[in-house]
């Protein structure tokens, strides 16, 4: 459901900026909302082509693994004080586990590039391997600064500490680093470098068709974006911290309302990333790496310094 909405939103926002109308024909009264279902039906009906000289096992097995690994982190973090899939001792480390799983996604993408076995996929996979060095450390640093600020790594306590002043206001530098890092991680413009259609013809995803493409390029990336945004909503945007003073009522409806509030914040974050598609061209690989290692790392270190100051002040 979220996938449907976010892809629809991406196309519509891009269309509005670009002086045109996005998908409209499939369900005109809803503004073309069900276009993605039509696309998914078409993807499923398409012939499944497995190229002759790809590594078959990897070719077939990696896309579902990509989706699974992209979705797993969102199960590891809680949605409200009592709605969580993990129980207390391991929930404590929820965010760390989620981050660890998300950082493994790039191996799967490199694996897909290797499995496809053509020159462009090789270049795309090499680029993906280079990009991970660009965003891994700053993103970890951003989260580490937030952990310093809150003095805890437990997601439930993190959210409990944010009321009106959300994490982004505590440490805006960390928020900026987070946004740039997630844009690099999920191949959002301006950093859509590994699967760049202009140059490497969608790189690692190039020989996939039908259900594989739907799983990876059209679906998996957005699911990874959802997981990252969920983490960001919890840590930076206040999670389920209510606007009106007082805690949420502790019954089922209260928890569901809290979960819905978290979902709304996640969705806003995702909308921003998707909006970037329509205004930004794509940066070059070596520019991205040098930008990341010079500027983003500097901002991340500054964010950690700010957090250290706040650790002693608060």
């Amino acid at each position: 459901m979220i996938l449907l909405t976010i892809v629809w939103a991406e196309r519509k926002i891009a269309a509005r900026v670009q002086m045109r109308v996005g998908p409209l024909h499939v369900s005109p009264r809803l503004g073309g909302y069900f276009q993605l279902i039509a696309d998914a039906v078409r993807f499923v009906m398409q012939e499944v082509i497995i190229t002759v000289d790809s590594y078959r096992v990897l070719f077939v097995a990696l896309p579902p693994l990509f989706v699974a690994l992209a979705l797993m982190p969102s199960f590891m973090v809680p949605l409200s004080p009592y709605l969580a899939l993990l129980s207390r001792p391991s929930l404590h480390y929820g965010i760390i586990m989620a981050l660890a799983v998300l950082f493994y996604l790039f191996i799967i993408v490199v694996g897909m590039g290797w499995a496809v076995n053509n020159r462009f996929a090789y270049i795309g996979a090499a680029r993906e391997a280079l990009i991970i060095t660009a965003y891994e450390i700053p993103l970890l640093d951003a989260f580490a600064s937030m952990f310093l600020t809150y003095k805890t790594i437990d997601p439930i306590e993190i959210v409990a500490k944010q009321t009106y002043i959300v994490g982004a206001l505590y440490n805006p530098l960390a928020f900026i680093v987070y946004i740039i890092g997630v844009a690099m991680a999920t191949s959002r413009f301006p950093f859509e470098i590994a699967d760049y259609e202009g140059d490497v013809a969608t790189g690692p995803y190039s020989d996939f068709s039908s259900i594989f493409l739907a799983l990876t390029y059209a679906g998996g990336i957005y699911i990874a974006l959802f997981s990252y945004s969920l983490l960001g909503a919890l840590v930076f945007l206040g999670g389920w911290a209510p606007i009106a003073p007082g805690p949420w009522p502790a019954d089922l409806w209260g928890n569901l309302a809290a979960a819905a509030w978290v979902m709304i914040k996640t969705f806003i974050l995702m909308l921003f990333f998707v909006f970037l598609r329509s205004v930004m061209p794509v940066a070059r690989l070596d520019h991205t790496l040098s930008f990341s290692w010079r500027w983003v790392l500097a901002i991340a270190v500054a964010a950690t310094a700010v957090s250290a100051v706040e650790y002693f002040l608060l």
């Binding site: 462009f120 301006p190 202009g198």
Partner: protein, 404 residues
């Protein structure tokens, strides 16, 4: 069907070049590629740097020069228009100039003004097309939609004036074919205001945006002496400091009577070429505004020599429509004629040799993309793989025009 993996997969060829050979990856940047156009490049990569690039043109070769010899010379006008459809007026203008010089025809004053007006519109059209393709090759699909959306408005104006959106078939040797209606001039003025605002936004979105800026800066450097030596033309040359423009240096039309400037930038990289294009759009809008004030609204659409051939009963409608009847019975002289115009991508050169019958003996065409190919190769060597689309778009390389 059993292709072995060693044959089809990666190719790493050892190229010995003295002590310590290079290992390069040969990439076929072929026609089946989102940003390569209708041409194949054999790109040799060393890591991320392009070591050598060999183009393989000829996919879209349509034997236009030979076809020009097999038909009545008037039937060549729709043919040569399809060399470069976004720039249809400037291409057929060059051909018409060549035929006029061969036949000894003159052009009426109203036709000169109209041709200049439509030539500048054609320049805006092709610059919008090239900038849009360049933007999407860099990655900004917004720039692409802006360019083509604006071009759609312009093409609707052409439909009212000449009869078809993208294939006007409007320039004849001696004049033009149809006169535009009054509504055309009003809509054109409104379009120019909208165009100015949107081009400014395009500039902010794609070029001034630091992501796009650094994508274009210092990329594909072509020095001034190289640009002159390789005979680059159009924005490819003017972006490197070579100050040549056929509108000023080999004058035609009414450009001499208008106030405009040739835009030249000195840096020689993709950014300079893209800026030359954007500024030329503004200059074209400026020229059109001056022309709208000075345009004669009445008068014959063809010159005197062409009028003599037209039957008397059709001479009354010469202010609105020129029919083919006079041209059908015209035969070519045993002479030659050349025509040079400055299209958006560079200069078009036509040379025609008459045969004495209604067919031409030979048509020689030189298009800007073909001229720029050598300079494009020189500019690409040493750049990174991700710069190839940026340089390709900044030269405005258009394979159907290069292959004729």
């Amino acid at each position: 069907m059993g292709l072995k993996m060693e044959q089809y997969g990666m190719v790493l060829s050892e190229v010995e070049s003295g002590p310590g050979g290079k290992r390069t990856l040969e990439l076929l940047f072929g026609p089946q590629h989102p940003t390569s156009g209708h041409i194949r490049f054999f790109v040799e990569l060393d890591g991320d740097i392009i070591v050598d690039i060999r183009p393989d043109p000829g996919f879209v070769h349509r034997t236009m020069e030979k076809l020009g010899e097999t038909r009545h010379f008037m039937m060549n006008i729709p043919l040569f228009e399809r060399l470069s459809l976004p720039d249809a007026i400037n291409v057929t203008w060059a051909y018409s100039m060549a035929v006029e010089r061969m036949l000894g025809y003159d052009v009426s004053e109203r036709a000169e003004y109209l041709r200049t007006l439509f030539g500048e519109m054609s320049r805006i059209s092709v610059h919008l097309y090239d900038l849009a393709l360049h933007a999407i090759m860099i990655g900004s699909s917004t720039g692409f939609m802006y360019g083509f959306g604006l071009r759609d408005l312009l093409v609707n104006l052409w439909a009212i004036a000449t009869g078809a959106r993208t294939t006007p078939t409007w320039v004849l040797p001696g004049g033009v074919r149809r006169a535009p209606p009054k509504a055309f001039y009003e809509r054109l003025a409104g379009f120019l205001d909208f165009l100015d605002r949107k081009m400014d936004e395009f500039y902010r979105l794609v070029v001034k945006n630091p992501v796009g800026y650094y994508r274009l800066k210092d990329v594909g450097y072509l020095s001034k002496s190289d640009a002159a030596a390789y005979l680059a033309t159009g924005p490819g040359a003017r972006g490197s400091g070579v100050d040549w423009d056929a509108r000023r240096d080999m004058p035609y039309g009414v450009y001499k009577q208008l106030e405009w400037e040739v835009r030249v930038h000195d840096e020689g990289d993709s950014l300079a070429r893209t800026l030359v294009r954007i500024e030329e759009v503004r200059e074209a809008a400026r020229i059109i505004r001056q022309l709208l004030k000075a345009m004669p609204m009445d008068g014959p659409l063809v010159g005197h020599n062409a009028t003599h051939k037209i039957p008397p009963k059709e001479r009354e409608m010469l202010n609105e429509l020129v029919r083919m009847s006079g041209y059908y019975v015209t035969t070519t002289n045993l002479a030659e004629g050349t025509g040079v115009t400055e299209g958006g991508r560079g200069r078009y050169f036509f040379q025609v040799f008459g045969a004495g019958t209604e067919r031409l003996f030979r048509v020689r065409i030189s298009t800007p993309s073909w001229q720029n190919l050598r300079a494009f190769m020189k500019a690409t060597i040493g750049a990174r793989l991700m710069d190839l689309p940026a340089i390709y778009g900044s030269f405005g390389f258009f394979p159907p025009e290069a292959d004729r």
